[in-house]
Amino acid sequence: MKILSKTYIALILAIMYIPILVLMLFSFNSTNNTGVFTGFSFYWYQELFRSAETFAALKNTLILAVSSAVTATLIGTAASLGLHRMRSKFLRGTITSLTNIPMMNPDIVTGISMMLLFVFVGTRLGSTEKLNFWTLLIAHVTFNLPYVILNVTPKFRQMDKHLPEAAQDLGCTPVQSFFKVELPCIMPGIVTGFIMAFTLSLDDFVISYFCSGSDFQTLPILIYSMTKKEVKPDIYALSTLMIIAILALLILSNLSNGRDDGLARLHNWRSRVREKVQTRREAKGGGAK
């Protein structure tokens, strides 16, 4: 059984990572042949650094990803706070479902409806370029929002609701109690939400395709347009660099977390779980009697 489970994991990992490894391998190919590996070279990396078009697209993509993720994180955290404090259960449920719509909606529907809205409003306002960076940003923030809310809301729920009360008892103003007590508690959720929003915005094609104007082309759109002829291996080189950068970032963040409070947090969590189990057992035991 153990061997079976191990092979299963190996298989899953292989299926996930072999395509990436093949892409990395062919970024070092000396010709643009994707069938045969003709020789090792850094040729496509040199090409990549010479290609102004690719770099402009990469810059655009990063600008868009960071700004939309930041905006979505700010709005999303505020929204979760509001939802958490809401008294009416019905209203909370309705608003939660409403904010989830952009996530459930197929990208193409979101993209087209957003484009129609922007063009309609743009025509009303009489602007010449109806689709530009700002429309793209609005669209990205829209589809990023539910992911942030989804990550932050559970943190609010996990937080002891007496903590802010205690803080205010001890002399905090409501604002202080939010920044000093609640925010640190929900920080992990905010960071996860931010990262998710960032990655989603980074690789979004469909919505960007409909909502981008003439002055702002992102990397996925550029790569798609290359399929008229063929995608050149300098894109493989770029992807390889991006994967390495993300990998380095992940390792770094894991290392730093592990060093300062990863262990402590784990400890905390375990004792909390134990407590919960204990109380539940007691409750159940009482019920049976």
């Binding site: 994707t34 600008i63 370029e129 409909f210 003439s214 002829k229 063929e230």
Partner: protein, 404 residues
């Protein structure tokens, strides 16, 4: 606590910085928005000339005005059309194919060009002026053209079998043949083969073509567009209809590939530069078009793209001929065949009714048993198992709760 503040502050700061980055455009610089096919201009990669940068420099030197070429790309005529049609009219130059130009002219989407600003138009070969799509040549200036032919692998295909479209229907090469994955070009292969007018409105003719394609389907390895490059280069397929210019690109990686124009006739396309309605920099756009027709630039583009150029300066340029012949010894005859030996025909814009016939028959062809019955059976089994599982759990739960 401090950490969370720092994090928030960092986020806000980076946001401000980025927004500043986006919005800091020089006021005295004109932006020219060029919308072109992907990989369709000499862009400075692999030691070629960067045409857009050269234009910015040229314009500044000639007119003393700074111009920034904002170059974006699309993958098909229809993509470009949808984008323009959506009302986002920020483009100054687009480069559609001939049938799309006809449609855009009909729908009033193109601006008439001022040919006084495009004196280099005189270098365009006479056979590319006043074509059907733009009879008085008011709207468009040809950029590239090309023809469809058949690419085959000399290691796998017998030389005796070549010459006609019937190679695509040759049972000897079952599983080694590729076909276009778009209705117009795929029907085209069958129609040229049978000598049917590709712009016919007669449903019966379209049905003859679709029957031929259905007959071909078991022989075909796949319906492809740009995958054709890897399949032909990697020799997983032996025969494919595609464009002459793209054949040269494939030949670059695999010199066992060869090319011919079918004797029955074939398709020719022209991609031409146009200025869409709503352009705010019409003069600069015309200067750009004119610049693209100068010898140095046109040669650089023709060498980069590998498609044929309608520009006479290019065809007579010794550098260009030497470059192309170094690429492939017959490159010049492949790209610029004797027009008498290969009958060619343009695709016209189909009217709505014919378009509907074409779509319907194409769907018929693609849907028909494209997934085997086994796939259906497996999918059905999975659905049944899932339903049974949830039903069973539901019943179990009901049963358990009733016990208490």
């Amino acid at each position: 606590m401090k950490r969370s503040f720092r994090f928030l502050f960092l986020m806000a700061a980076s946001l401000m910085l980025l927004i500043m980055l986006v919005s800091c455009d020089g006021k005295d610089t004109i932006t020219l928005n060029v919308y072109n096919w992907g990989e369709y201009i000499s862009d400075g990669s692999e030691g070629t000339l960067d045409v857009n940068a050269a234009f910015e420099e040229y314009y500044y030197e000639t007119y003393g005005q700074k111009v920034k070429v904002n170059y974006t790309t699309y993958a098909s005529n229809e993509d470009m059309y949808a984008k323009l049609r959506s009302g986002s009219t920020g483009y100054d130059i687009v480069i559609p194919s001939e049938y799309m130009i006809q449609r855009m002219i009909n729908e009033g989407m193109l601006e008439e060009l001022d040919f006084d600003n495009i004196p280099n138009f005189e270098y365009i070969a006479p056979e590319f002026r006043n074509q059907y799509y733009d009879p008085d040549n008011l709207y468009s200036v040809p950029y590239t053209y090309g023809m469809v032919g058949i690419i085959y692998n000399t290691k796998m295909v017998d030389e005796a079998d070549i010459g006609s479209w019937d190679l695509l229907w040759n049972e000897k090469y079952t599983g080694k043949i590729l076909q276009f994955n778009n209705a117009r070009d795929a029907f085209g292969t069958a129609m040229y083969y049978q000598g049917i007018d590709v712009n016919t409105k007669d449903r019966a003719q379209w049905e003859i073509a679709v029957n031929l394609l259905k007959q071909q389907k078991p022989l075909v390895q796949g319906y492809v567009m740009d995958e054709v490059f890897n399949k032909m280069k990697g020799e997983s397929a032996a025969i494919a209809p595609y464009y002459a210019g793209d054949y040269l690109t494939m030949y670059d990686s695999n010199d066992a590939l060869a090319f011919y124009y079918p004797e029955e006739g074939t398709n020719v396309f022209v991609d031409a530069m146009c200025i869409p309605k709503g352009s705010r920099q019409k003069n600069v756009a015309e200067a750009y078009i004119n610049f693209m027709l100068t010898e140095e630039i046109a040669v650089a583009n023709a060498e980069y793209i590998g498609y044929a150029s309608p520009n006479l300066l290019v065809r007579e340029s010794e550098d260009y001929i030497a470059y192309m012949e170094d690429w492939h010894e017959d490159a010049m005859t492949i790209l610029y065949p004797d027009t008498a030996s290969v009958p060619t025909q343009y695709y016209h814009m189909l009217d709505a009714e014919t378009q509907a016939i074409s779509n319907e028959l194409w769907e018929q062809l693609k849907i028909e048993s494209s997934v085997g019955d086994t796939v259906h059976v497996i999918a059905l089994v999975i659905v049944v198992i899932c339903t049974a599982f949830f039903l069973w759990r539901f019943i179990l739960k009901k049963y358990r709760t009733s016990q208490y």
